[in-house]
Symmetry: C2
Subunit: 364 residues, 2 copies
Amino acid sequence: MTVPLHKPLAPDATIGILGGGQLGRMLALAAHELGFRVHVYSDKKDSCAFDVVKNSTCAPFDNWARLADFLNHVDAVTYEFENIPAETAAFVAARKPLFPGVGVLATTQDRVTEKQFVNSLKIATAPFAPVKTSMELSAAFARIGMPAILKTARLGYDGKGQVKLEKGDDLASAWRSIGETPAVLEGFVKFEREISVVIARGIDGKTVAYEPIENVHRDHILHTSTVPAKIPPALAKEAIAIATKIAKALNYVGVLAVEMFVAKKGAKRELLVNEIAPRVHNSGHWTIDGASASQFEQHIRAIAGWPLNSVKRVGKSVTMTNLIGDEVLGWDKLAKEAGASVHLYGKGAAKAGRKMGHVTRVKL
Amino acid sequence: MTVPLHKPLAPDATIGILGGGQLGRMLALAAHELGFRVHVYSDKKDSCAFDVVKNSTCAPFDNWARLADFLNHVDAVTYEFENIPAETAAFVAARKPLFPGVGVLATTQDRVTEKQFVNSLKIATAPFAPVKTSMELSAAFARIGMPAILKTARLGYDGKGQVKLEKGDDLASAWRSIGETPAVLEGFVKFEREISVVIARGIDGKTVAYEPIENVHRDHILHTSTVPAKIPPALAKEAIAIATKIAKALNYVGVLAVEMFVAKKGAKRELLVNEIAPRVHNSGHWTIDGASASQFEQHIRAIAGWPLNSVKRVGKSVTMTNLIGDEVLGWDKLAKEAGASVHLYGKGAAKAGRKMGHVTRVKL
């Protein structure tokens, strides 16, 4: 049983956010601009989203009493990370409108299920094979070829829980390195570039998609996102069509990001879906400064039952650069750069690989 | 004695804001984007800025124990309204860096002092005369002529504490209507249009000014602000020069707004300063969506000792429209308008004359 949202939330309603990282923080800021109150629920004491809201709850996601109390204080609920435990999502959805819905999490929390879902829509992915045992790994490797990437089916992000396999690598040690847990072996795609589409879908089923975004990763972590992406208009249209098809098939409400590879296929280019993120996405951060309305505003509008807003780009081009770990210590230099929009997440220590902030440069 | 700020605040510092209205709320949101923590101090229980910060204090401005406790938790302090009691400002400034400084408040809290200060810079105002008694009112009226406007010297805003006087009006009843309190009689200016300049000045004395803004009032409350203003380039330059001169003479740190009348003087136009607001200003709200960096970001940067950011306009033109009282009830219609940036302040009841939100339309 899930609770529906019968009418748009009035601006004095309270939005509940599960998760307290930078995405929750930026969602809360966008909700505040629209007049909403926000209650953040996170299991981490040092959640940076706690700092930007009056009301927050710090408790495990399976503390049903605290969760019930949280739900008594909110009018609709969303989440900022896709690894919400299934029982938590079901508990929430039974009591308050939850967007995106429970089914979305079931599909996207498991890489195998997600890829099968994408293929079922006749959308291409890299070749892949589910791997549950080390024996299956050998068979999968024989089928997929090499190089390939072995990824845990669940809970991986930013390159965590994955290992690249080249010819001659020891499969047994690779299997151990990812924890001998259900996984997927993916054929390694020699892509020309990586793009993503950030799309919002409203309760009424209408969608708005930002133009495709070109992404560059460093050490498996997003480094820069740039619009416009250097791809032909027809390919951009195709990318948006893919994201739209996925959002519709998921009966999605909120902002969804679809990561794709642009790969050469003979003289042509093809798009291979790499990953679906059922949430606002790092590659969409440029929209705060570089688009008419941000991805965070769109997400809040969608889950509040409001119509979506314009996705028009502001200026000629926009580049967002992540500040990872120590890079945030250069905030004083960035502060001196006129026209650079500095966003810092208020996190404590600048640990290696930690997303500490981002800077957006809009070319007007 | 006032405490100086020796070096730029690091992004994990806490900024204290005195006052909890929509200006404090939007300052807090801007501070959060830059990674700062914010502590709001307000004497009003239903302060809408409380909703967007983790830490707040609700106490009178002369509760020295609570104020001292607040100051123990912040690294620098600013205010969102100019009627901070002088003792409060002195108490704060003696303990933590306070921007804008105490002297600024002394000059701008009294209309007579403010106008004398402006004239001392050889900047024109409407003719005025201080009025302390009903006898002085007659003399002032004889000198200034009519029509004229009688305004309380202190604590007036949005047309409160003022009355227009026409020929034949009863001076005694006008004097009673404003509470028989020290006042100023101003000659009524038949202006062509009203403009304002929103300027930011950093701790290093550098200034950045947004282009002049054209303002339309309704019932003494700002209705719309539009850029570019329909004034010749030379006049725009002069307006910015006036604001710069004022900011410098005040040794100002933060965002300052200068309201001016554009009046015909024979075949020429002249600028008359109407009012100085030592804070972020309603006529600068368009900068959130319509400029490279917002007035709120500039103010936070200035009081944190950071360099200022770009004031470049985004798009061809921008119009901000206030949502006053009941107008906020039309939020559902505004939500449907693609490209309209809706900002609601999370205030409770839509009382007549209360600023409930604003909507910005950027023509890209």
